[in-house]
């Protein structure tokens, strides 16, 4: 069972780090948690270009000059939880929709036509509306159209993940949102998501069920981002130790202040996000790092080769949004609005190879 140790001593030491400590930390081998804390420290911000350089070297060595491309496919925005920060919260009066299996296939084929081979099925957390039976049906309907189909849905039991794996799902993303229990309890006001422990054990269940890849992450803007970075590193190291056959990714959804919407508890600016990415890359050379369309095109283009390995493109975050251009019932607003063609062109122009297909459904039969 993963439990987060007390990080306060580590954080204190990191706050006192100087530039020499940062340079030493950069030279340390992977997996060094003290080094991670130092790389996340304020002192490290002054050496951001050096961190970027080191992160870039490691990324090139492990991943080559490639970037994987995927698209999210929102199946349903019904949700039983009341999360203070999310557009899908149960108490929000938005247009709710759940795609039928046929509609899901229709949306998916649109994505396929546009060139996507990797898609991420997303739902709010409402098992009665979009439970395992439904997800299994959708998975089976889509499996032969895509190289890889992954899910970001409510936390499931291990046997349920196993069912979905057999139905063709290759990867599971489930974000703790925040590893700070106090903050967690403050923003999760109702619904099963209030159970911090059940959620934090979910990546392990997915890995134990045989999923090829498991994605973790925190919502930046809730608790202090340096602590979240440390917690992510520890969770990742624990998962690797206990599930050595599994691949892992980390995502970085970042709350942006928006009028009338949830006010983030802390501001995490692009510089912080980049430092977090560089630090995690140095800490774990093999973890996939995902940058979604929440971020601006300028930032995403600039970060190519410096750590991130997977980009979404042309994303729409409302169910049925690919066929109907109105974006009612969105989960978050898009920073990078470019199409897959534009994103791939930008990636290629910077000397990287956009990879739309990195697996094959045949491997999983």
């Amino acid at each position: 069972m993963f439990t987060l140790p007390d990080l306060s001593l580590l954080r204190q030491r990191a706050l006192n780090a100087n530039q020499n400590d940062v340079l030493t930390a950069m030279g340390r081998g992977a997996g060094d948690i003290e080094a991670l804390a130092t790389l996340l420290s304020p002192a490290a911000e002054l050496l951001l270009p050096q961190l970027a350089g080191r992160a870039g070297e490691i990324t090139a060595q492990r991943f080559g000059k490639t970037t994987q491309i995927y698209a999210p496919l929102y199946l349903s925005n019904f949700c039983n939880n009341r999360c203070a920060y999310c557009g899908f919260a149960a108490n929000n009066k938005i247009h709710r929709r759940k795609l039928t299996v046929e509609e899901a296939v229709s949306e998916a084929l649109l994505l396929q036509q546009r060139g996507f081979q990797h898609i991420l099925l997303v739902t709010g957390e409402a098992p009665a509306k979009a439970g395992v039976d439904y997800l299994e049906e959708v998975a089976l309907a889509l499996r032969d159209h895509f190289a890889a189909v992954s899910i970001e849905v409510q936390p499931l039991e291990q046997h349920e993940y196993n069912r979905l794996f057999k139905a063709g799902i290759t990867a599971v993303a489930v974000y703790q949102e925040t590893y700070d229990k106090e903050v967690y309890d403050k923003v999760h006001l109702a619904g099963k998501k209030c159970d911090y422990q059940y959620r934090i054990e979910t990546p392990a269940r997915a890995a134990a069920a045989g999923m090829r890849e498991v994605g973790i992450g925190t919502l930046l803007g809730l608790a202090d981002w340096r602590s979240e970075g440390l917690a992510l590193g520890l969770h990742l190291a624990w998962l690797r130790k206990n599930f050595w056959r599994t691949s892992f990714t980390v995502s970085f959804p970042r709350l942006r202040p928006a009028a009338g919407a949830f006010e983030p508890f802390s501001t995490v600016v692009e510089k912080n996000l980049s430092q977090l990415i560089f630090a995690l890359r140095i800490f774990d050379p093999d973890v996939g790092l995902v940058l979604s369309t929440r971020e601006e095109a300028r930032f995403r283009d600039g970060m190519l080769g410096l750590g991130p390995t997977r980009y979404s493109a042309g994303s729409v975050t409302s169910p049925g949004g690919y066929s109907h251009e109105d974006h009612e019932g969105e989960q978050f607003s898009i920073g990078d609005q470019r199409s897959i063609t534009e994103v791939c062109a930008a990636i290629a122009s910077r000397g990287f190879d956009p990879v739309c297909k990195d697996w094959d459904v045949e491997f999983q039969h």
């Binding site: 060094d32 070297e57 930032f299």
Partner: protein, 261 residues
């Protein structure tokens, strides 16, 4: 303190009992080493010398016996030897050695895994001797090995740690204790293994054939202790992914002007 299969050991030096010039010297060397676990082998009784019995030289109240399956060339032979060992010593502890090539005495990965899985099911505390193969180490742990024993270098070569990189990986990924065994020819080799984070080492030849085995046993005792102290005191870790550039110079510094805030 080192714990293997719920048994704690104050000493992280295990010693083999072979190749000593006499039982008396063996006994004194083991005492000098302060080791709490020794390996023993199984052989046909020498009917010409019926009274020659290693068991009498060692006090089993103070020393844990770790029977090995040396001589086994496949899983079946190893399992048979394991049963004999359990009967002979009334102990579930077992150092599993499957060495089909009598020249190199390198461990067979396939039959080692097979035998480990079977013997764990039968209730043995299995410590498999293995090559420095990180994936094999994980597979052995998955089937219940109580510890893993990657070699330092092939038996008899005395080369110390011959595959540092992969041994580091084994140690990093291990969920059970890692005991480096075989080929540790000098105390400095043992120190090196312990500084890398190994949980224990097993030494036989280097002590048994030394000019003064008792003195050498003490040297190894001190070497293992020093290495462990250094590790726990927080040695600077060497980078397994070190690239040519050192931190102070030669780092490319990308242009980060694209970051808006």
């Amino acid at each position: 303190m080192l714990t293997i299969a719920s048994t704690t050991f104050k000493s992280r030096l295990f010693v083999g009992t072979g190749k000593f010039s006499s039982a008396a010297e063996m006994k004194q060397a083991i005492e000098a080493s302060e080791s709490q676990m020794v390996t023993v082998a199984l052989r046909r009784v020498d009917l010409e010398n019926p009274e020659d019995d290693i068991m009498t030289a060692l006090d089993r109240d103070k020393i844990c016996f770790l029977p090995n399956t040396s001589g086994a060339r496949d899983a079946e032979e190893a399992i048979r030897l394991a049963h004999l060992a359990r009967a002979a010593g009334n102990t579930p502890w077992l150092k599993l050695e499957v060495t089909p090539d009598p020249r190199t005495l390198l461990p067979d990965p396939v039959d080692t895994l097979k035998a480990t899985e079977q013997l764990v099911k039968e209730g043995f505390i299995v410590l498999p001797y293995m090559n420095v193969d990180p994936v094999l180490a994980l597979r052995l742990q998955d089937v219940g090995a109580a510890a893993v024993m990657p070699l330092g270098s092939p038996i008899g070569t005395n080369m110390g740690i011959s595959n540092k990189l992969q041994l580091e990986i084994i140690i990093e990924q291990a969920r059970v204790p890692v005991v480096v065994d075989a080929g540790l020819g000098a105390p400095s080799h043992a120190t090196e293994a312990m500084e890398m984070g190994a949980d224990a080492v097993l030494v036989n030849t280097a002590i048994a054939v030394a000019g003064d085995p008792i003195r050498m046993a003490k040297a190894f005792r001190d070497a293992v202790h020093a290495g462990r102290e250094a590790f726990e005191a927080g040695l600077g870790r060497q980078s397994t992914s070190a690239s040519a550039s050192s931190p102070e110079t030669n780092i490319s510094t990308p242009n980060l002007d694209f970051i808006s805030n």
